[in-house]
């Protein structure tokens, strides 16, 4: 139940600075909250509302629309087995069933030790390598029952911690726009012709402009 740490608040302000309208940063900031705590906490949403300048209700409104945001704790590893058509044709129903048996939980549940949450999910764009799954959004493709079992064993033994960060962390590389290289945001309410378009605009619009005059 945490607001952003000072370090993360700095990251949040940097993210906010890239958008002409602060509310655009809502989804990225919800990701940051989930990275910090493993799920999106109420306190984090209140903090985001303060930073963005919207009500907490608006933050919850946006948050609840998106599948990836978890309002309750999930396992350290979120195992998402694709169930869509290309994977189904290649046996994803049986794979999901096997995953349920191996982990001892139904899809949607978390193991009692808090290590694994299992979900059947919609297409994750690896259709030619079916059946596929993601662990904290890292791919495993052409998955068999055997390769699923060894994956679970390796995860449980902590052997994949370098490759697969705990749930909440997506990209481990962040965009950083150096101050001296930034073109800057383009506020929607400032009607200004971009410099490189000025000649072109003058050519095409001057007749209309002179008529208006």
């Amino acid at each position: 139940m945490a607001r952003f740490t000072p370090e993360n608040e700095t990251v949040a302000r940097e993210i906010l600075s890239r958008y002409p309208v602060p509310k655009s940063a809502l989804v990225p900031l919800l990701h940051l909250a989930q990275e910090q705590d493993g799920h999106v906490t109420r306190d984090a949403m209140v903090h985001i509302a303060e930073l963005v300048g919207v009500t907490p209700a608006e933050v919850i409104g946006t948050c609840t629309f998106y599948e990836m945001f978890k309002m309750e704790p999930v396992g350290r590893y979120l195992v998402n087995v694709c169930t869509n058509i290309s994977c189904m044709l290649m046996g994803s129903d049986a794979l999901l069933h096997h995953a349920e048996e191996r982990l001892g939980i139904s899809a949607g549940d978390t193991t009692p030790d808090g290590m694994f949450t299992l979900e059947g999910v919609e297409c994750i764009a690896a259709c030619t390598e079916a059946p596929c799954l993601q662990v904290n959004y890292r791919y495993r493709t052409n998955v068999t029952n055997e390769s699923f079992d060894s994956l679970v064993n390796e995860l449980a033994a902590g052997e994949l911690e370098d490759e697969i960060p705990p749930h909440g962390t997506l990209a481990r590389i962040r965009q950083h726009i150096p101050a001296d290289r930034a073109a800057g945001v383009a506020p929607p309410d400032v009607n200004r012709v971009p410099v490189w378009m000025q000649t072109a605009v003058a050519d095409t619009e001057s007749p209309a402009g002179s008529e208006a005059n």
Binding site: V27, Y66, I85, L89, A171, M197, V201
Partner: protein, 451 residues
């Protein structure tokens, strides 16, 4: 077989392990198209893209050059938003382009922003694609440092920031107005259009170009070689090359860049360099030609070229370049249910016919598949479909804001028309089971204990 030797225009660097780095990209001709574009006027760049007749690769297939021209005069700023929210079942190409050649996409975005006069660019990457996000973030950081992005690009008066933005898991956000809503921090629900298309009023109600990842990845090649050279490949109405993901019951599932409009479905499914034929040399039952939203095709459609007009005319669409192959062992009811369940789950809930309709379609199909179907169910399915997409025709009419609802109709109208006996058999078995159960119940009621 029309397996042509057209050049690889957008997958040319897939063989390089370092293509995602700036060094690897520059070593293979990267950012030369941007230099060339900056030596031209924005109008000249735009003209090249128009001459290339580059069709949008997101699903609708609208010409990109024409779309760029829809921004109203004198209204600034303009924005460009890259649609990297690939999530149509069967579709796998944009993720590949983002992971393996992120600089090519960035270069395409920059050239488009230059041509249209966009003051800021937003690259919306699907939330579930962590590696693509990392590759693009790293690529942008390198490109900023090298002077390709940001202020005074390559010393010119062209300046634009490219902002990487992550989604958070919602298929509907692939629809361009929903994408804009999401980018504004809202629930990703589509906007009613008309009156406003994004080119006129999009992000923050300003003129906005929304293009798919694959579409923009073509732009550097077009500028380097010229629009005319690009239009020299492909067929009338479908120029250049295009990526197709061939998945399901083929021997070599994979993503292939093929000459657009010339290569046929038969090539894609059976040619040894592509799909390689049906697994275990079984018979083809059906295939989906353009992602889950597309009506199904069969044996008789195999010789159609991968060409927009021809496929549209035959009653389906190339959509997002996803060919899903089903062999003779496929249960048509289960396949149909699977696709419908997807749309029911992904309906955003804004329009009643879609929210309620897709949910009921899923429930009815589920009970048929589970052995509880009723004899009236097949007509009921079509009735619900008709409420979402009046007339159940192609191209679909819709009672909804966006095409998600009608997309759920495609698999049902396809499967029910072609494989009706499979549905009827399941309903008949259920009807018989119910009759047997009643008979047993009657026996119990009439059994009077003796004595």
């Amino acid at each position: 077989m029309a397996v042509t030797d057209a050049p690889k225009m957008i997958t040319s660097r897939f063989g390089r392990d370092d293509a995602h780095t700036l060094a690897g990209y520059e070593a293979s001709g990267g950012y030369q198209a941007l230099r060339k574009a900056l030596s031209m006027t924005p109008e000249q760049v735009h003209t090249q893209v128009k001459e290339a007749s580059l069709l949008g690769r997101g699903g609708a297939g609208f010409p990109a050059g024409v779309k760029w021209g829809f921004c109203p005069d004198g209204v600034w700023p303009r924005y460009i938003v890259v649609n990297g929210d690939e999530s149509e079942p069967g579709t796998y190409k944009d993720r590949m382009l983002m992971e393996r050649d992120p600089h090519q996409l960035i270069e395409g975005v920059l050239i488009a922003a230059y041509a249209v006069g966009c003051a800021q660019a937003f690259l919306y990457v699907r939330g579930e694609m962590a590696l693509a996000q990392e590759r693009i973030a790293a690529a942008l950081n390198e490109a900023y440092a090298a002077g390709y992005v940001g202020k005074s690009i390559l010393g010119s008066d062209f300046s634009v920031d490219v902002v990487l933005h992550w989604g958070a898991g919602a298929y509907i956000v692939g629809e361009e107005t929903a994408l804009i809503e999401s980018l504004e921090g809202n629930r990703g629900m589509p906007r009613l259009k008309p009156p406003f298309f994004p080119a006129a009023k999009g992000l923050y109600m300003q003129p906005t170009i929304v293009n798919n990842v694959e579409t923009l990845s073509n732009v550097p090649w077009i500028i380097t070689h010229g629009g005319e050279a690009y239009a020299g490949f492909g067929a009338e109405g479908s120029k250049g090359t295009r990526m197709f993901a061939v998945s399901g019951h083929v021997k070599n599932p994979g993503v292939y860049e093929v000459e657009f409009g010339v290569t046929t479905f038969r090539d894609l499914i059976y040619a040894p360099v592509y799909g390689g034929g049906i697994r275990s040399d079984r018979q083809l039952k059906a295939f989906i030609p353009g992602g889950a939203s597309a009506p199904w095709f069969y044996e008789e459609h195999l010789d159609l070229p991968l060409e927009k007009v021809a496929v549209d005319k035959a009653g389906s669409m190339l959509g997002s370049g996803a060919v899903v192959v089903m062999d003779e062992t496929t249960d048509a009811v289960k396949a149909c249910l699977n696709v419908v369940r997807f749309f029911a789950h992904e309906s955003c809930g804004k329009c009643t016919p879609c929210r309620e309709g897709t949910t009921w379609l899923e429930r009815i199909l589920s009970r048929i598949d589970d052995g509880y179907g009723r004899s009236s169910d097949l007509a009921l399915l079509m009735d619900v479909c008709d409420n979402i997409s009046p007339g159940i025709a192609w191209p679909p009419k819709q009672t909804t804001i966006c095409p998600l609802g009608p997309s759920a109709v495609s698999p049902i109208s396809s499967a029910l028309q072609r494989f009706r006996p499979e549905f009827e058999a399941k309903v008949a078995a259920a009807t018989k089971a119910r009759a047997d159960a009643v008979a047993v119940a009657v026996d119990v009621r009439t059994a009077v204990p003796h004595g």
